[in-house]
């Protein structure tokens, strides 16, 4: 097996050998390696196939910008993870990784045929091709696209890992642990500011930490040595927290940032167990220092995507940090000085290399050094083609013309096994723009730079466009002193020597003799978009960068165009003949690198997914086999199946029992608002449609609450407990909103009212007993309470004790039966319920759930707000004009009741429906029409509630129908998928119109 690890470095522990599997084959690396560096050490460049053309692709970079080396980790159904960048994944014992987007394997990939038919799949291919015939879409195109689309496989079983969230507050957050970040963090922390420094790598130091060029020195030391010293120093600072393996995902307004901390991804399987995998940090920082650095740009030339073609600086890092050379015969192709550092480093380690520089000439310390070492430099030359299918083996260069628009002279063929490219540097302005910052364009080296416009955040170092060390340190120190309003003098005597770049030349799309249509000049490696695609998009009329991006998919892959966006912009600007700075950029959206769902969700999974509210009777319901329904956050018993009953049978039995003898409902979830104050009556007058001033103490009244637009908002019974004390009930789902609304009016419109509102929903439990035998059961529970209709009539309230515990008893009814609601402090709720059940045994007291409750009230035509209403129903639409006071001068929504639209005759109105076939049960939500012959069919309304009534032995329904009030007796049709159901409009009250049962 070839070994490309050519020297020892302090970052690789050669005493700790690590074995891992890649595409099923076992390899070895060392602790400290990333998957990418270990693969390169084993001579493996080919790691995947490209998305569209399935071209062989190799590792390109050494960081978050990696477009090609993305792999599938693990094979377990619950733990496998796709799209992991090999350049960021730390190697651990037992790691299993495989390449993506290739079948049957990376070396022989069937999809590779796409490469040869690529002239047939231009930009917008999918948009253009899969348009017709229409019938092909569902059965042919979509399955085909789904099969070939996507990178990697998602896990198919729940994620067993633990994720965590943490909220933190800091004075200063420094993003990035390179040299400028370290200086910033030190200055902040030494000035007594509580500081957090985060870096996505395992160790601090950025690219300076492996810097070993003699021409770059700080205080007479190698810059890497100097920086190591600084790192030792900051580690001693007590008010500085350092988080490595932590990357900022998003920078929101008000300096609220999200960071992902990787805790176990670098550990072997057995050490991961029972530990938190990743932690999402929710950071609030008073000030933020962005020191995210910059990434190297590729160059755009024909066949620039072969395995073995990397970014020049990445070759340098693999060499000096990991001890791995990317080849034995390397060519560096550059437009700037930084590739010279790589070249010199390679040369020192004995790796043959030469430089192709597209600048006409250049001079600087670094170039002089390279020349002195005898490194061959081709100035004013450009790579025009590369060769080698699975790995580069040679390339052609040509001389550039004077204006750089074309090539001249003869081709020179050079052999190599690796090509490093450097198209300059792109400052990472993601964080700055995510925070709302704007950008400026610097023509000099064609970079977008942060425009300083905020007192809360600042960019320093190369993400601010400062590329040489002297500039970086001086500017960082000055800016931080100013930004934090401090006077730190630690660096004023620091002596920096570095090479200065003097010559610049940038060509976004390098010239070639071959027509563009026949070249493969890749811009976005991951999404396979080429310079040709961009030009085609422009030719077809796309102008906005946002449109070109979407049409060509440039920058839309998992790397979000970190390497490609600048080139796309550059080529658009050049082609359209506009200045690049005026084009603008696409939006930098969070996250910076992909986050797993697990990290975002944290602990809120399974039973912690949502808050669950349970009544104090909940255990009893469980013991008695209840099926539950979610009502808001509440778990309410839905029905209680007995002996294998289905829902229909259970509901029929419960409904019958409630009307024949007695039923009991857990009504604890109804919203309860305690209203007190000398103006409580006046307040109720203003919020309900009916009058409240004359309600006697000890009496209850049903109230309807509107929105200011006149539409029904909530309903419920309110009881006057004493002169200035009421207890309001609301719908279960509406409780919180009603309280908010009432508080709103009280605090903002009527602050003069002496009224206090308190939510007591959770403080009381309620058992509602109804049916002809309910009085007998009450009598057993409260033997001293006079239950006669004279003493305790319908719509009244009494207090009594149940074994010393005070109960509030309301005689109110939502079923139309004689009915009592017993309220008790919640901690006694369970006991109350059991005592009711015990007392009711001899009367077949049957517990019923929400479904039976709905059925019983529908028999009586009582509405449920939110089921029979939808925010567009007035009281009149509900045929409830009786509840709207004509005398009151004002109440919420009153004025809206006679707006021209609300008094329209042909509004949708609540009606009853009876099916011609009494056994036919309508579907809730079904549309109602009168004429199915004239098309388009006129929709009159829809069914809102529908049940089979066991008490009436027929199907009943409530519906809203246009002009429904005038339609009683009229025949209508409910068209269903396979039949039309004939119905007749009826009254909304189906049972006991005279309310005899209330006093039965």
């Amino acid at each position: 097996m070839p070994n490309y690890r050519i020297h020892k470095t302090e970052y690789i522990d050669e005493t700790k050998r690590v074995s891992f599997k890649y595409d099923g084959k076992t390899y070895f690396g060392y602790e400290g390696d990333t998957l990418a560096s270990a693969l390169l050490a084993n001579g493996i460049h080919l790691v995947g196939r490209s998305f569209k053309y399935h071209r062989p692709r190799g590792i390109v970079s050494c960081g978050a910008e990696e477009p090609n080396a993305i792999c599938q980790i693990g094979s377990k159904k619950d733990l496998t993870e796709p799209n992991v960048r090999a350049t960021e994944l730390e190697l651990y014992e037992g790691l299993e990784a495989s390449s993506q987007n290739c079948w049957p394997n990376v070396k022989f990939d069937i999809g590779g045929i796409n490469n040869f038919i690529s002239p047939l799949i231009p930009a917008g291919f999918y948009y253009k091709t899969f348009m017709w015939p229409k019938s092909f879409w569902k059965k042919v195109y979509e399955p085909l696209i789904r099969l070939s689309a996507g990178l990697g496989k998602s896990p198919t079983e729940p994620d067993p890992d633990i994720y965590d969230h943490k909220h933190v507050h800091y004075d200063v957050l420094v993003i990035g642990g390179g040299i400028s970040g370290i200086i910033s963090a030190k200055m902040a922390a030494k000035n007594n500011l509580k500081t957090l420094l985060v870096d996505d790598k395992k160790i601090l130091g950025g690219s300076t930490i492996y810097q070993n060029n003699e021409s770059i020195k700080i205080d007479d030391k190698l810059s890497s040595e100097w920086l190591k010293n600084e790192i030792q120093e900051i580690k001693k600072l007590s008010n500085l927290t350092i988080k490595t393996r932590t990357s900022i995902a998003a920078y929101h307004g008000y300096n609220f940032l999200l960071a992902k901390e990787n805790l176990t991804d670098h550990l072997p399987e057995e050490k991961k167990k029972n530990k938190i995998r990743q932690r999402l940090w929710k950071i609030r920082a008073k000030k933020v220092v962005i020191a995210t650095g910059s990434i190297e740009r590729p160059l755009v030339f024909n066949n620039n995507d072969r395995p073995g073609i990397l970014l020049s600086n990445s070759i340098n890092k693999y060499l000096d940090y990991y001890g791995v050379t990317c080849g034995e015969k390397i060519i560096l192709f550059t437009n700037n000085d930084s590739a010279y550092e790589t070249s010199i480093s390679l040369h020192k380690k004995g790796i043959k290399n030469l430089i192709v520089d597209l600048r006409k000439s250049a001079s600087s310390e670094l170039i002089k050094q390279a020349e002195t070492l005898g490194i061959k430099i081709y100035f004013n030359h450009v790579v025009t083609n590369t060769f080698g299918y699975r790995k580069i083996n040679s390339l052609e260069i040509m001389e550039l013309s004077e204006d750089g628009n074309t090539t001249v002279g003869n081709k020179i063929k050079l052999s190599c096994d690796c090509l490093g490219m450097s198209g300059g540097w792109t400052p990472m302005v993601h964080m700055h723009t995510q925070s709302g910052g704007k950008l400026d364009f610097r023509d000099d080296d064609q970079v977008f730079l942060p425009k300083e416009n905020s007192e809360d955040q600042i960019s320093v170092g190369s993400c601010n466009g400062d590329f040489d060390l002297e500039n970086i340190i001086d500017k960082t120190v000055n800016k931080i002193n100013k930004f934090l309003d401090i006077d730190n003098k630690d660096y004023q005597d620091t002596n920096i020597i570095c090479s200065k770049e003097n010559d610049k030349r940038n060509i976004w799309l390098l010239p070639n003799k071959i027509p563009l249509g026949k070249t493969k000049c890749f811009i976005d490696f991951q999404n396979d978009s080429t310079a040709k695609d961009i030009k085609l998009a422009l030719k077809e009329g796309f102008r906005s960068i946002e449109h070109v991006k979407r049409y060509t998919t440039t920058g839309m892959a998992t790397d979000q165009g970190k390497l490609s966006n600048m080139h796309a912009l550059g080529i658009i600007a050049d082609t359209a003949g506009v200045k690049m700075g005026t084009l603008g950029t696409t939006t930098f959206r969070p996250p910076f690198t992909p986050l797993t769902f697990g990290t975002l969700v944290g602990r809120n999974v399974g039973k912690f997914f949502e808050v669950v509210r349970k009544t104090s009777m909940h255990e009893w319901h469980l013991e008695n086999n209840a099926e539950f329904e979610n009502v808001g956050q509440w778990k309410r018993p839905w029905y209680y199946p007995k002996n294998g009953e289905n829902m229909h049978d259970a509901v029929q039995r419960e409904s019958k029992a409630a009307r024949d003898s007695a039923g009991i409902l857990d009504a604890s979830t109804l919203g309860k608002i305690d209203i007190q104050g000398t103006d409580a009556s006046e307040f109720l007058n203003r919020v309900y449609t009916n009058a409240w001033s004359k309600l006697a103490i000890g009496k209850c009244r049903y109230g309807l609450m509107l929105n200011e637009d006149g539409m029904v908002y909530d309903d419920g019974v309110t009881t006057r407990i004493s002169e200035n004390h009421y207890l309001m009930t609301t719908t279960t789902g509406g409780a919180a909103n009603v309280l908010s609304k009432l508080e709103d009016y009280l605090q903002t419109e009527w602050p003069e009212l002496d009224v206090y509102l308190t939510s007591v929903t959770d403080h009381y439990s309620t058992a509602s007993i109804c049916g002809p035998n309910s009085k007998k059961i009450l009598n057993k529970l409260f033997p001293n309470l006079n239950l006669s209709d004279e003493n305790f009539p319908h719509m009244s309230f009494k207090e009594d004790k149940l074994e010393n515990i005070n109960c509030r008893i309301m005689r109110i009814s939502f079923t139309g039966e004689l009915s009592y609601e017993i309220n008790i402090e919640s901690k006694y709720g369970h006991s109350l319920w059991k005592m009711c059940i015990e007392a009711g045994k001899e009367f077949n007291l049957t517990p019923y759930g929400t479904e039976t409750m709905h059925l019983l009230r529908a028999e009586k035509g009582f509405i449920i707000v939110g089921q029979d209403t939808d925010g567009t129903m007035t009281p009149s639409d509900l045929q409830m004009d009786w509840i709207v006071s004509k005398k009151k001068y004002d109440f919420i929504g009153k004025r809206s009741l006679y707006r021209s639209d609300t008094i329209r005759e042909d509004r949708k109105q609540l009606v009853g429906l009876l099916t011609d076939d009494p056994k036919e049960i309508l579907e809730e939500g079904a549309q109602i029409v009168s004429d199915i012959k004239t098309k388009p069919i006129d929709m009159l309304g829809h069914v809102t509630s529908s049940y089979f009534s066991p008490n009436l032995n027929k199907s009943i329904a409530l519906a809203v129908v246009r002009n429904g009030k005038t339609m009683k007796g009229q025949k209508l049709i409910i068209p269903m998928e396979n039949k039309n159901i004939n119905v007749t409009v009826s009254d909304t009250i189906f049972l006991d119109k005279e309310n005899k049962r209330l006093n039965a």
Partner: protein, 93 residues
């Protein structure tokens, strides 16, 4: 995510609050006197300013108090908070 300085509780995360739309819209004292158009003006018409906007917020998961906020909608900066019933700061008019 905003950091809102509740006049009763101090600085809290936006997730504790709910927004209540434009501030200083007074409910007409005599709605019955108003024409449909005048009532609709109160009921539906709201400003949506790019720039300085006066709005109502409720510390719904806190003290439950309503209060007013002056916010620059172009950059989301909250310039001032003040209690219900207090006059809006004049310098932002």
């Amino acid at each position: 995510m905003f950091l809102i300085n509740c006049p009763f509780c101090g600085e809290r995360d936006q997730s504790e609050f709910s927004s209540g739309g434009e501030a200083h819209i007074v409910r007409p004292k005599q709605p019955t006197e108003l024409s449909d158009d005048e009532w609709a003006e109160y009921l539906f018409m709201r400003k949506n300013i790019k720039g300085i906007q006066f709005e109502r917020w409720n510390h719904v998961h806190g003290c439950r108090k309503w209060f007013n906020v002056v916010r620059d909608t172009s950059n989301d900066k909250i310039l001032s908070v003040y209690k219900m019933g207090e006059k809006p700061p004049v310098n932002y008019k």
